[in-house]
């Protein structure tokens, strides 16, 4: 099984085949024979050439995946060329309208800009309160605010649309 895995911004080609007690695989053409057991969901115990690695997986609310080995954390994205996310990334994040979404559930406490306003990249758009902290959600690109999708005092979930900048 072939995968494209993005580790902290670098793309790696992974070929994964089941073998006795684990996997016979290659990473960027280099062979790896792994003895692997899943000790719990999101926890793998991996032995490679006698060296042991415990790999743990965590997700952010927006579905980004991290792999932790030791106390070191790696951003890891297994890419699906058919997913919306990859298509959007391929099309270029700068082009077209930017959807500003809520990174966590919370309550809208303040709208900083109004529809029609011109904003700079990094400028605060709305303030979301969660876990007693107010968090300013910023524009990801320079442009015009064409839509504000939320009202003050309304509740939002992670991933909800807050505004569109284009």
């Amino acid at each position: 099984m072939k995968y494209e895995v993005l580790i902290d911004g670098n793309l790696h080609q992974v070929d994964l085949e089941r073998a006795d007690k684990g996997y016979q695989c290659t990473v960027d053409g280099e062979p790896f024979a792994l003895n692997v057991v899943m000790t719990a969901r999101d926890v793998l115990s991996i032995i490679h050439e006698g060296r042991h690695y415990e790999a743990k997986r965590e997700y952010s609310l927006l579905g980004e995946t991290h792999i932790i080995i030791g106390s070191e954390r790696f951003g890891a994205e297994v890419r699906d060329p058919r997913s919306l996310r990859s298509r959007r990334a391929a099309a270029g994040a700068e082009a077209g309208p930017a959807k500003i979404i809520a990174p966590m559930p919370g309550k809208i406490v303040r709208l900083i800009v109004a529809e029609g306003d011109e904003v700079e990249a990094g400028q605060g758009l709305v303030v979301v309160e969660a876990m007693k902290m107010q968090n300013e959600i910023k524009a990801t690109k320079k442009g015009k605010v064409t839509k504000i999708a939320v009202k003050e005092a309304s509740a939002v979930n992670a991933g909800d649309l807050l505004a569109i900048v284009e």
């Binding site: 580790i7 790696h12 997986r57 070191e72």
Partner: protein
């Protein structure tokens, strides 16, 4: 001694107090809001009283409801923990009026010290050095502008009733002042029910060192040890330690004696903390007094060998302090890491949600004070502090090594936490040399993270692990959890479904049909 104590709090501190009660043979009463029925403190307590909706004003900040819960449960005393009502003099007075012992200082002491502005007025009288600024609340933006002009920018706006970095704003130019004042006031109103904000000069990158004091009802006041609390982000402490490596025995004695003077000026009883700003020349200024138990109390417990929560309960019951100043001996070193539900890779946004996995560190010198458990859903309604990882050792280097070892063991899955941040802090040469001030963490966060030799070796393993994980059914595809929260067994070969981003099922199909990754 009391037979039954109500804990007017939640999370790890409620669990901490319940543990002290159990060790002393005292029954504990937990209180909870609608979203906390499953919280750990409810599970640990002997008795439980429901308060109301999640909103703090309807539950943990609601004085009549908490007093009613105390009456219903027959509690003779209330421990307020930290945060919520812990520094609310009105609550302490309402307890007294209801014939219930408030485990903390008197409402009069709290009024004097709990309001940062009144405390500054007192310190002026007692000739204790403090940071220049106003000693009354700001009436208007015009007044703020005038004061800021006279003491010079940058200035700090602070909630009089504040704590924990809430209702605080740093202002560098006059143009920002009015809006910063408005937002500080509204945050203060929301967090403490009091919008009063004062102003003081911002001291660039000082150390934040605080002294633990303790008073009893007989009028004795002692100081225990200082804590170094300079590692902060947005005025929120992240890591604390005791003792502070910058403080020598003579400075400790002088700081301690001033702290005791502060306590005596306030007729102080029970646990309190006198906070100081310390500059590079070892000058120290009174910052404020916290009239409660601090989050970071465990590091003092470790180096003094005194259980501060038990001592709070004994003193509240009228017992005199069992130790004299000259009997206090500091031994070893202790450090605490605050584990927050927030994402260090994404602007430290809060990260509530279900905890799918906890692997806890243990072994020599490790203590963990936690309010979470595997399967629990972290509510978005309260503070993001999940747990505290505390290490004790002979000296500071041993403590750092113990924590680094414990962090390798520690894992919290399902939500994002700041655990990975601590690895960077503990490895940083400035931190290891004890060169920390309140600007340390912001500077560290601006540096690119450095990998070591192991990073290169681990990278292909990470790629393989990510691919292996992607072949497993994601959580969303598992059969729904039953009402009782028990997980139904699911075959490992179950067809994967979308988890919102990657679709391993679709992936396989795509890989087959399109031959990607060749």
């Amino acid at each position: 001694m009391f037979n039954r104590i109500l804990i007017a709090n939640r999370g790890e501190i409620a669990v901490r107090v319940i543990r002290a009660c159990r060790e002393m043979g005292i029954e504990s009463v937990a209180v909870y809001s609608d979203v906390d029925r499953r919280a750990l403190h409810v599970r640990k307590a002997d008795f439980c009283e429901h308060l109301g909706p999640a909103q703090a004003s309807e539950s943990y900040l609601n004085i009549p409801k908490i007093l009613e819960a105390a009456r219903r449960s027959g509690a003779e005393a209330i421990h307020p923990g930290y945060g919520f009502l812990s520094e609310n003099a009105g609550f302490a007075r309402a307890c007294r009026d209801a014939g219930i012992v408030f485990i903390g200082p008197s409402p009069e002491s709290m009024e004097m010290m709990g309001s940062k502005t009144k405390a500054r007025q007192q310190m002026k009288k007692a000739n204790v050095p403090f940071v220049p600024g106003t000693d009354t609340g700001l009436k208007s933006a015009e007044e703020a502008l005038a004061v800021a002009e006279s003491i010079g920018y940058p200035v700090m706006l602070k909630a009089s009733a504040g704590g924990g970095g809430k209702g605080m704003r740093m202002v560098t130019t006059p143009a920002e002042l009015a809006s910063a004042l408005a937002s500080a006031q509204s945050e203060a109103q929301r967090s403490f029910g009091d919008s009063e904000v004062y102003i003081e000069k911002f001291i660039q990158d000082p150390r934040h060192v605080e002294m633990q004091i303790f008073g009893d009802t007989q009028g004795n006041v002692i100081y225990l040890a200082e804590r170094e609390c300079s590692v902060q982000r947005r005025h929120q402490k992240v890591l604390e330690e005791a003792p502070c490596s910058f403080v020598d025995p003579d400075m400790r004695r002088r700081m301690g004696e001033i702290a005791v003077r502060v306590g005596k000026a306030a007729n102080y009883c029970n646990a309190g903390t006198v906070e100081f700003l310390v500059d590079a020349k070892k000058n120290f200024y009174f910052l404020e007094m916290n009239t409660r138990l601090q989050v970071e109390h465990p590091v003092t417990e470790m180096v003094t060998g005194i259980d501060l929560v038990q001592l709070q309960i004994r003193v509240a019951a009228g017992e005199p302090l069992p130790i004299k100043q000259d009997e206090i001996v500091l031994r070893g070193h202790a450090m605490e890491l605050r584990v927050y539900a927030e994402d260090p890779d994404n602007n430290f946004f809060p990260s509530p949600g279900r905890i799918t996995r906890i692997i806890s560190p243990s072994g020599p010198g490790i203590r963990r004070d936690s309010g979470m458990y595997e399967g629990w859903v972290v509510p978005l309604d309260y503070d993001p502090l999940l747990a505290k990882l505390i290490a004790y050792g002979e000296d500071r280097p041993q403590v750092i090594n113990r924590l680094r070892r414990a962090l390798v063991e520690y894992f919290i899955g399902g939500i994002k936490t700041n655990i990975s941040l601590f690895r960077r802090i503990l490895l940083h040469p400035d931190f290891q040399a004890g060169r920390v001030d309140t600007g340390f963490l912001d500077r560290l966060l601006k540096e690119p993270p450095v990998g070591d030799a192991r990073t290169a070796r681990r990278t292909p393993i990470v790629a393989l692990a990510a691919a292996i994980f992607a072949q497993q059914p994601p959580p969303g595809s598992q059969p729904a959890r039953n009402q009782d929260g028990l997980h139904a067994t699911s075959p490992r070969t179950a067809a994967p479904a979308s988890n919102g981003t990657t679709k391993p099922g679709g992936w396989k199909a795509a890989a087959r049909t399109e031959g990607v990754g060749k």
